[in-house]
Amino acid sequence: MNMAWKEMKKSKAKFIILGSIIFLVSFLTFIISGLANGLSQDNAALIKDLPQGHFYMNTDAKQTYNLSKIDPSLQDQILHENKDAAALSIQMGFVNDAEDKQHSVAFVTSTDSPLFEKVGPGEIVLDRSLEKDGIKVGDVLTNNQFSGEFKVVKFVDQKKYSHAPVAYINMDNYKEIYRTKGMQLMFIPGQDTASSITGLESFSNKDFLNTISSYKAENMSLNMIIWFLIAISGMLFAIFFYMMNVQKIGLYGILKAIGVKTSTLFRMMWAQMFFITIIALVISVALSQGFNMIAPKGMPFQLTMESTLLLSILFLVIGFIGATLSGLQIKKVEPLQAIQQGDV
C-alpha cells in the first residue's frame, strides 16, 4: 500500500506548505544563478566564448594583462610555430557618436585569427548592445586619441568585456590610440598543457578570467550566495522533515509495533521528499526558464538548461540527505514508548 501517497492526499495543506517553501528557495536559487551567469557573461563573454587553450603574458606583468607587453620578435616566433595562435590586446576606452555622445567600450584588436573579428583600418565592429543606443551600421564614430574616424561595419552578438561592449578595431588604429608598438597577450587555442615560453607566463582560460579582478570578486560573491541558498535549502529539508517526523513519532512507534519494517518507514519518507521536491523543482524550472525568455534585455540574466538540471539534481541530493538525517530518529523510535503515549 502506498502510505506515502495516502498521507499526502489526506494532509494536503502540510505538504503544500513544505512544497511551496522548497519551490521558493529553489526558484530564488535559479534566479540568483541566472543573474550570476548573466553577470559573468556580461563581464567576460569575450574570453568565455573562446575555445579552451592558454593565454600568455609577460612574467614581469605580475598577472596583470594591462601591464603585459609581448616582444614583437617573440610574438612572430609563436605565431609562426602555432598556426591557430593569435596576439591580442584589450583596453577600456570610449567612442563618440555623431552627436558627440560618449559610449564606453572595450577596444579589442588581434592578429589575423578566426577567433576574433577581422577589421580593416578605420573600421569598427561593435557588440550589438550599442545598437540599442542608436548606433547603426555605416555610422561614423570618433575617439579623441585617434586621428581618423571609425566606420561601423557590423554588429556581433554577446561580446562583452568587463561589463562593457567590445569594439573590435584594426591593430594599427589600436597602436595609435594607445601609443604602443606591441600586443599584450598571446592566445594559443586547443592546448591541453601550456607550452613553456621563456619570459612568458601561461594561464588557462579559467585562470585568465580570474586575473580580471572584478570578475573574480563578482563571481565569488554570487557563487557564495548560491551555495548559501543550497545549504539553507538542505537545512530547510532537514528541519521540515524533522518536525514532521517528531509529530509522527507515535505513529511510527505503533506501525513498528504491528510489524512495519523501519526500512518501509524510511521509504515512505523518501517517497514524500522526492515527490514534493520534484513537483517544486518542475514549477521552479518552468518559471525560471520562462523568466529567462522574458527577462528585460538590459538585465544580465542567463540560465542554461544544463545549470538548471545540475542545480535540480543538487537539490534532490541535498533534500535526500536532509530528510535522511532527520529520519534517523525513526530508527530510534521504541514501539512501546509510542503505545504508552496514547493515541496518535
Partner: protein
C-alpha cells in the same frame, strides 16, 4: 493446545544507580481459543509482562516460547516478523493510522503480514472482517470521524485480519464507557472462540473479568493467583 509459554521471566529496570525488579520469575501457559486476563494493582507488572510476551520489549531473564521457539534469543528482525504475521495487538487507545480509511487500516495489516492473498481476495477478507465487527458501513471513514467504540472495533478488526495466533490486548476497554466496553469484550471473546485465537488481555476493570476463561492476578511482579 498450548502454543505460548513463559518460563521464569524476570524484568529489571535501571534508573541511574537504582535497580527496580518489576517481574520476579513469571511462569505462564496460554491455551488456544481461550481468553486469559491479567489483573492486578497499578505497578504489579501486568503490562510489562504483556509487552514482553508480545515481543515489544526484552526480558532480563527467562524464556518466552512461541511455537517451540525461544523468542528472547531471537533477533529484532525475527521478533518483528512474528509480530507482523502471528500476533495481533489491541491497545488502550485505538492507535489507528490517522490518514488511512477504515478499509485501508486493514489492508495495511495484510501488507505488513505479507499475506499472499490477491488484491481482490484482500478486499473480500477486509469486507468480511469489517462485517464481523459491524463496521462495514464505515469502511471509507477516517479515524477522526469515528466514535471511541468504533475506533476500538476497527483496532480489533486490524488485530485479527491476518489471522494471528495470539491476540494481545492492553486494557482494550479503558477508554470506553460501560456499554461499549461490554460490546468490545463480547467481540474479543467471540473472535477468540470462533477464530481459535489465544488471547492475553490486561485489564483492571472487574466487570470485564466474566469474559475471560482464566484470570491471573499479579502483585509485586509475581503471579499470586
Amino acid at each position: 493446545m498450548t502454543t505460548f509459554t513463559i518460563h521464569d521471566v524476570t524484568k529489571t529496570f535501571t534508573n541511574g544507580e537504582v535497580e527496580e525488579q518489576v517481574l520476579n520469575g513469571i511462569n505462564l501457559s496460554l491455551q488456544e481459543g481461550e481468553v486469559t486476563a491479567l489483573v492486578g494493582a497499578s505497578g504489579s507488572g501486568k503490562s510489562t509482562l504483556l509487552t514482553i510476551a508480545a515481543g515489544l520489549q526484552r526480558a532480563s531473564g527467562g524464556q518466552v516460547r512461541f511455537e517451540g521457539n525461544n523468542m528472547t534469543a531471537m533477533t529484532q528482525e525475527e521478533v518483528r516478523k512474528i509480530r507482523a504475521s502471528k500476533f495481533g495487538f489491541v491497545f488502550q487507545s485505538s492507535h489507528l493510522v490517522p490518514f488511512l480509511t477504515v478499509e485501508d487500516q486493514l489492508m495495511l495489516m495484510l501488507d505488513v503480514s505479507e499475506s499472499n492473498m490477491s488484491k481482490r481476495e484482500r478486499k473480500e477478507e477486509v469486507a468480511k472482517i469489517l462485517k464481523l465487527v459491524e463496521m462495514d458501513h464505515r469502511k471509507d471513514a477516517y479515524p477522526a470521524s469515528l466514535s471511541g467504540g468504533e475506533k476500538q472495533r476497527v483496532a480489533i478488526a486490524r488485530a485479527i485480519i491476518h489471522k494471528p495466533n495470539i491476540l494481545f490486548a492492553d486494557e482494550p476497554t479503558a477508554s470506553l464507557d460501560s456499554k461499549r466496553s461490554k460490546d468490545v469484550m463480547t467481540l474479543i471473546r467471540d473472535l477468540t472462540k470462533t477464530l481459535n485465537i489465544t488471547t492475553l488481555m490486561v485489564t483492571h476493570d472487574e466487570e470485564m473479568l466474566p469474559y475471560a476463561d482464566h484470570i491471573i492476578t499479579m502483585k509485586d511482579g509475581l503471579i499470586v493467583q
